[in-house]
């Protein structure tokens, strides 16, 4: 954290020292602004207007409780638990993915062996799957007729399954988070200056001390940003959760339910806005932390 607070004054100094870009933009004048018109039109028509409507709709009276939907989220246990569960699982998934895949990514970046490219390809393969397929795969593994159930039935005459619980959701989310982290970490490790590790080792640092003092700080921006993306993806993951038909109440399923089952538009809108804002905050915080260049090569 101290590294972050040290970062600030420098960033401020940099911006105050560079008035040039503003002047350059002003110099370009109107033609440059006209070039923005198509993008702005699209932005207004397909994002700003619907989103503004969504925000306003969320403020309307909730059908169930009779108060503003935003207020209802904060005051009703059902929505708060759902919010907490979604936040919780997303956080745990992101941490687990960064931990597991961070190690794997580092290992893959640093070692050459036969079949490596095949391994990397198969590890990153889940990126190609939509959430529905990931959910299906989890059911194949831990569902009622899944591999684990068959095995435990044969061994202990019991059906073990986890697909429809929080654990199933966790496995599914982890499944599509890992490839992102692996590819990002591998790229970050490639840009890390090897002589930093060699210098640390020459000073007597053991392997884990090198990892703690050199490698993790060096790839921290990449870990933060990829973790935040995992978090954002998990917050909004719908397909997997829907396929698993999980008993857990999580935000994306709640939005779907309020909208289609109860036609409670204001609550669906309010939940959407909350989901969007949380995700946006996570992404922008990560971007700010990563942007500081905590030892990241430029």
């Amino acid at each position: 954290m101290s590294a972050v607070s040290q970062q600030r004054p420098q960033a401020g100094a940099a911006s105050s020292r560079t008035p040039v870009p503003t002047a350059a933009l002003r110099g370009l004048g109107h033609p440059a602004l006209w070039a923005l018109v198509p993008a702005l039109t699209l932005f207004c028509a397909f994002w700003l207007l619907p989103f503004a409507r969504l925000v306003l709709m969320g403020a309307e009276v909730d059908r169930g409780s009779g108060v503003s939907a935003y207020l209802a989220i904060l005051t009703h246990r059902q929505y708060l638990t759902s919010l907490a569960a979604t936040l919780g699982i997303s956080l745990v998934v992101s941490l687990a993915a960064v931990g597991i895949a961070g190690l794997a990514g580092f290992f893959l970046a640093r070692h050459r062996f036969a079949g490596k490219s095949l391994l990397v390809a198969s590890l990153t393969f889940p990126l190609a799957f939509p959430g529905v397929v990931v959910g299906f795969l989890v059911i194949m593994l831990g569902g009622r007729q899944g591999a684990l159930a068959q095995l435990s039935l044969w061994l202990f005459d019991e059906r073990w399954m986890f697909a429809y619980s929080l654990l199933g959701l966790f496995v599914g989310y982890l499944y599509f988070s890992i490839p992102r982290v692996i590819t990002t970490v591998m790229a970050a490790c490639d840009t890390l200056d090897r002589s930093l590790e060699e210098a640390a080792r020459s000073l007597g640092a053991s392997t884990w001390q090198v990892a703690r003092d050199v490698i993790v700080p060096g790839i921290a921006p990449a870990l933060l940003s990829t973790g935040a993306i995992c978090f954002a993806t998990s917050m909004g993951a719908f397909g997997t959760a829907f396929t698993l038909g999980t008993r857990m109440s999580i935000l994306p399923l709640d939005i779907y339910g309020e909208f289609t089952n109860y036609a409670n538009f204001s609550m669906a809108a309010a939940l959407s806005v909350v989901l969007g804002v949380i995700t946006w905050i996570a992404l922008s915080v990560a971007r700010r932390l990563a942007g500081g260049g905590l030892g990241a090569p430029a």
Binding site: Q10, S195, E198, A199, L203, G204, G218, L294
Partner: protein, 357 residues
């Protein structure tokens, strides 16, 4: 700090997985407290040799690395107590100057007071007083390399290893830091191995220089030996500029006929080519000249000027003169070469003869 060791490499070769031989098995003895410079073009094996000494790389089987006669071959770098200074500085960007210098001391779990004392001592030695709280990205290149040096000597290593430490700096800074490093090495009396491709750096720093070429040591000797008595045409070419004078015929009374005149050189009788350095050729009056030619070009170097003189041979003679006279192209010029400055490398690998035609 008198813990410096002698280093012995025994049949240390290094072949990479692809079959490429970076280093042919070599023997090298470095005395305790000596500064040895490994000099050569890129790909000559100098960095590989350094990495074998550091423990970052292991020699091929049969190769042995000894510190003070003790076999350290199986030890990784973190157990060898070597200090390293890199071209890229390799400072930890997430730590300030003091924390960088303290890093090795913290690893050793020294008491805080001793760490502070050592930081203060090495910062004074490397002229970094008052820089402790600075962030690494606030430092200039020269300051960064001084921090790297301070960090390396703070742990009192047995050996200091330099991997082209000045290559990323501009010329003026390079000269200054080179002098500082030389002073520091003398002060510490530590065994040092210094890799560079810059011959002036090698001359200024090395007690001895090992000129390397294609994975072998081409010559090992003091800077004077290397410069004045190069063992091969490769060394002669790599260190400074050199002139080749093909011998056309043997003249009367130990004289050798070359392009543009005759040379007196009894000790090199029978050689087919004579060599000499541009600064050893004198410009003399035309009627007293042993060799005559015409100026092709003059290049002003500041402290001297280099003349290219056409004597009728394939390549013009390079002549350095301190004279302030301005030469015009085509002007006739008289030259003299004292016999003692002429030399002939003993060993002439065939590859080089082919390469130079």
């Amino acid at each position: 700090m008198n813990s410096s060791v002698s280093i012995d490499l025994e049949a240390c070769g290094r072949t990479f997985a692809g079959g490429h031989t970076a280093l042919h098995p070599l023997d090298l003895n470095i005395a305790a407290g000596e500064t040895l410079v490994l000099l050569g073009p890129s790909g000559c094996g100098k960095t590989t040799t350094l990495r074998l000494i550091s423990g970052l790389e292991r020699p091929d089987p049969n190769g042995r690395v000894r510190f003070d006669q003790r076999d350290v071959t199986p030890l990784p770098i973190e157990k060898r107590k070597v200090g390293m200074v890199f071209q890229s500085y390799a400072l930890f960007p997430n730590m300030n100057v003091a924390a960088n210098i303290a890093y090795g001391l913290r690893i050793q779990r020294l008491p805080a007071t001793e760490i502070q004392q050592r930081i203060d001592a090495v910062m004074a030695m490397t002229d970094l007083k008052g820089f402790g709280e600075r962030r690494i990205d606030e430092l200039s290149g020269g300051q960064k390399q001084r921090v790297a040096l301070a960090r390396a000597i703070a742990v009192r290593p047995r050996v200091l290893l330099f991997d082209e430490p000045l290559a990323a700096l501009d010329a003026k800074l390079r000269d200054r830091l080179r002098i500082e490093i030389a002073r520091l090495l003398k002060e510490l009396g530590i065994t040092a191995v210094y890799v560079t491709h810059d011959q002036s750096e090698a001359m200024a720093l090395g007690d001895r220089i090992a000129v390397m070429h294609q994975g072998r040591i081409a010559q090992l000797g003091t800077p004077q030996e290397i410069y004045h008595r190069p063992a091969s045409t490769f060394v002669a070419d790599f260190i400074g500029a050199v002139n080749r004078l093909p011998v056309l015929a043997a003249g009367a009374a130990g004289r050798l006929v070359v392009h543009g005149g005759e040379l007196h050189s009894p000790h090199l009788r029978g050689k087919r080519t004579l060599y000499c350095r541009p600064e050893d050729i004198h410009v003399v009056a035309l009627d007293a000249a042993a060799i005559r030619g015409r100026v092709v070009e003059s290049v002003f170097l500041g402290q001297s000027q280099r003349l290219l003189v056409d004597t009728g041979s394939d390549a013009p003679l390079q002549v350095d003169t301190g004279s302030r006279r301005q030469w015009r192209a085509g002007e006739a010029i008289g030259l003299a070469i004292p016999p003692e400055v002429l030399f002939h490398p003993e060993q002439q690998p065939r590859t080089e003869e082919v390469a130079h035609g």
